[in-house]
Symmetry: C2
Subunit: 66 residues, 2 copies
């Protein structure tokens, strides 16, 4: 199985678990829609900081202005 | 192995293969840096359209202005 866990990056090394077993990620109206293998969805006001498929990690960060 | 293939979405259903076996994706200076398992890197002036880890697909699209 190739899902990843999604985290929200906070200050420094801290990060907050947002959702486990994410298999689908899609920008939606300026936010990010995450879906996991249990059919749960979360719409997060964040942007991608780093995706490491080797580590099964999706790391998000608060959105920066353009 | 959990890498994904990256495609650039063109008009309609068309899409262009950008890189195979991507395991790492990171925004860099407004672009996206892709790395594959062979150590190759590509910096693409695009944004994420959809990531489906179940289908092993990263679909990019040309960047839209904010």
């Amino acid at each position: 199985m190739c899902e990843a866990n999604a985290y929200l990056k906070k200050s420094g090394e801290e990060s907050l678990m947002v959702m486990e077993n994410v298999y689908n990620l899609k920008p939606e109206g300026g936010k990010l829609l995450l879906e996991n293998i249990f059919g749960e969805q979360k719409l997060i006001d964040a942007e991608i900081y780093h995706i490491s498929l080797m580590e099964h990690k999706i790391i998000l960060q608060p959105k920066k202005p353009c």
